[in-house]
């Protein structure tokens, strides 16, 4: 099974006056792990459902493997999908659930058994085959849903928030497993999530959506290092980038000068360090997380989070100075939030 490229051109979806997708164009190369990221209601699930054929675009073209599939029914598109609810058939056993689609397509029984064995071996669910979904844990149900996608041997796999029903520990484990699976099988993955850590950890390509439009389409490292808009900056990173409002050419309440046209100054929490001189700040609180400490401070009129390595004891109200490299600063336009070049970088 090899991946197929997915291309969306000007895809729009509206229900009456509300527009869920406003002309989304997107190219996912064959075999790529692409994450559609965004807050709830941004249109990412709608986008996935349009690729699957479960929803129809009001305008625009969907191509899979170079073939225009805009008008094709879901089954004719060569895609497999893992639903947020897993959509397992409650009255069928695990084995029957996995081969459901193969039976429906009248795949011969020998071939069916071969594909089932392979999926079972990949996922390690041999001991569950005779059980019903109701007798499985969330993680096991998730594996069965993956099994159904594997046996389809589709070149494109779609996943709609597949990990949102799992606890944090299992989520991290499944994240690694899904990524390993995608690499091993080589299929093109379109993965919807609102969790930016999933996007950062898994994706080759992240597409950040907001109000039905693409904010930025880039590899995760680029999205982190060079956010195209202040929205992207405030969405990526734990904690996300600090954004300080600018007034009269300086950061409000400080003496830090900014380039012409910039309305926001952005600084990653991990780009800050405590020094003898620099940005004067007052500690609000310090949250110790083990590997590092997140210190919340007031700077001028704004509020800043600093992520400092190790355990740092700081009393509330303590006056400190925060230093940073000038090339680590980001500037964003006041009117449209677009990134403005940093003269020092």
């Amino acid at each position: 099974m090899n991946g197929a490229e997915v291309r969306l051109t000007g895809v729009t979806r509206s229900w009456g006056a509300t527009q869920a997708l406003a002309g989304v164009s997107l190219h996912v190369k064959a075999g790529t792990f692409c994450v559609l990221l965004g807050p709830s209601g941004c249109g990412k699930t709608t986008c996935l459902r349009i690729v699957a054929g479960l929803d129809q675009a009001t305008a625009g073209v969907v191509e899979i493997g170079g073939r225009d599939v805009t008008g094709l029914p879901p089954a004719a598109r060569g895609v497999a999908m893992v639903f947020q609810s897993y959509a397992l058939f409650p009255h069928l056993t695990v084995a029957e659930n996995i081969v459901f689609g193969l039976k429906a397509r009248s795949v011969p029984s020998g071939e069916r058994a071969r594909r089932l064995d392979r999926a079972v071996e990949i996922l390690g669910i041999g001991h569950l085959l005779g059980r019903r979904p109701g007798q499985l844990s969330g993680g096991q149900q998730q594996r069965v849903a993956l099994g159904r996608a594997i046996v389809a041997e589709a070149s494109v796999c779609l996943m709609d928030e597949p990990l949102s029903n799992l606890d944090a520990q299992l989520r991290a484990e499944m994240r690694r497993e899904i990524l390993a699976l995608q690499r091993r099988l080589g299929m093109t993955m379109l993965y919807v999530t609102h969790d930016q850590t999933e996007a950062m950890g898994m994706a080759d390509q992240v597409v950040l959506l907001r109000d039905g439009r693409i904010e930025q389409d880039a590899p995760p490292a680029e999205m982190y290092a060079a956010p195209a808009t202040s929205f992207v900056a405030s969405f990526i990173g734990t904690p996300p980038m600090n954004l300080l409002p600018v007034e009269g050419g300086v950061v409000r309440g400080t003496a830090i000068a900014v380039p012409l046209g910039a309305g926001l100054l952005g600084l990653r929490p991990e780009a800050l360090r405590i020094a003898d001189s620099g940005l004067p700040a007052t500690v609000i609180n310090a949250e110790y997380l083990g590997a590092d400490t997140v210190v919340a401070c007031s700077v001028g009129a704004g509020r800043v989070l600093a992520r400092l390595p190790g355990k740092i004891d700081l009393a509330e109200g303590a006056a400190i100075h925060l230093a940073y490299e000038t090339q680590a600063v980001h500037f964003f336009d006041a009117a449209n939030g677009r990134a403005v070049a940093n003269p020092a970088a």
Binding site: P74, F83, H91, A104, A152
Partner: protein
């Protein structure tokens, strides 16, 4: 000494227990006892006769006719009303303009009292100027005495019962269909399953708990629903529409042979009990409850 909680528990279930005992259990027991005695007359107290009443029933040709009629009635109304209910539920479960109206129309027969329904249908079946004869006249059909002909009287009763029941069962199927997560259908669409395949492999099995419930009710109704016989045919012509419960009513309240009525009642109860046991025993195992 009973504990306070025990007293309270008894006090709470007492009203239900009194009603059940007074109107269900006690009459059931006396019915069984009555079937072992002769019918009391003004001058003659009841006399214990053992199973003589059952022997007399065995020799009663009308009883066998009623039993046969009831079997035909059940075998026709049960599958017809259940299948029709499922088809109607599937039809109104899709996005359709004016769907609430259609649903209401399907449910109307259930809301109407059977006596009123029977009178409406009496008009439908009237020879010459009734609805059916009028429609048949358009296609060149002649006049037909639907209820007066022994060959068409029972099928006419069956038609009324199916019309009355299907809408009621549809509500249960509709509720079950609405409770089914839509992503099962979507997953199935993606897997390339045809609508028929999905219906056969997913919808139908998931509706099994509803089907069992509906079937039990349909079986009970096949023996219970006789109001329209009382209004439309009085069991005639020549007992062609005499059903068991109607025969019990005739025996008890027109011939005043209460002992034979009690005997018939015991037979009917035994029959229903056996059917219910079979249904839960055989079908119950194959039902998947979520």
């Amino acid at each position: 000494m009973l504990k306070r909680e025990t007293w309270q528990a008894w006090a709470l279930i007492l009203p239900a227990v009194i009603l059940l005992v007074a109107f269900t259990h006690w009459p059931a027991i006396t019915t069984v006892l009555d079937s072992l005695y002769t019918t009391p007359k003004g001058s003659r107290p009841p006399r214990f006769v053992g199973l003589d009443n059952y022997a007399a029933l065995w020799d009663d040709p009308v009883f066998w006719t009623a039993l046969r009629n009831n079997a035909v009635y059940a075998f026709a109304t049960i599958p017809a009303s259940v299948v029709l209910a499922l088809l109607m539920a599937l039809a109104v479960n899709t996005a359709l303009p004016g769907r609430p109206l259609v649903r209401m129309a399907y449910f109307t027969p259930t809301m109407l009292p059977m006596i009123a329904v029977a009178n409406i249908w009496l008009f439908f079946f009237t020879p010459d100027y009734g609805l059916f004869d009028r429609i048949l006249a358009v296609f060149g059909g002649g006049r037909h005495n639907w209820l007066g002909d022994a060959a068409t009287a029972l099928p006419s009763m069956i038609a009324v019962a199916v019309w009355k029941e299907a809408g009621f069962f549809m509500i249960f199927y509709l509720a079950a269909l609405q409770a089914m997560p839509p992503d099962l259908q979507e997953a199935s669409n993606l897997e390339g399953a045809s609508r028929w395949y999905f219906f056969r492999r997913v919808t139908l099995p998931l509706l099994m708990p509803t089907t069992l419930f509906v079937l039990v009710n349909a079986v009970i109704n096949a023996f219970r629903l006789v109001d329209h016989v009382v209004v439309m045919t009085h069991g005639g012509p020549n007992n062609a529409t005499t059903l068991l419960l109607y025969y019990i009513y005739e025996m008890g309240f027109r011939f005043w042979d209460t002992a034979m009525a009690a005997t018939l009642t015991v037979v009917l109860l035994a029959l229903l009990g056996t059917l219910a046991w079979l249904q839960f025993g055989v079908l119950g195992k194959r039902v998947h409850y979520r």
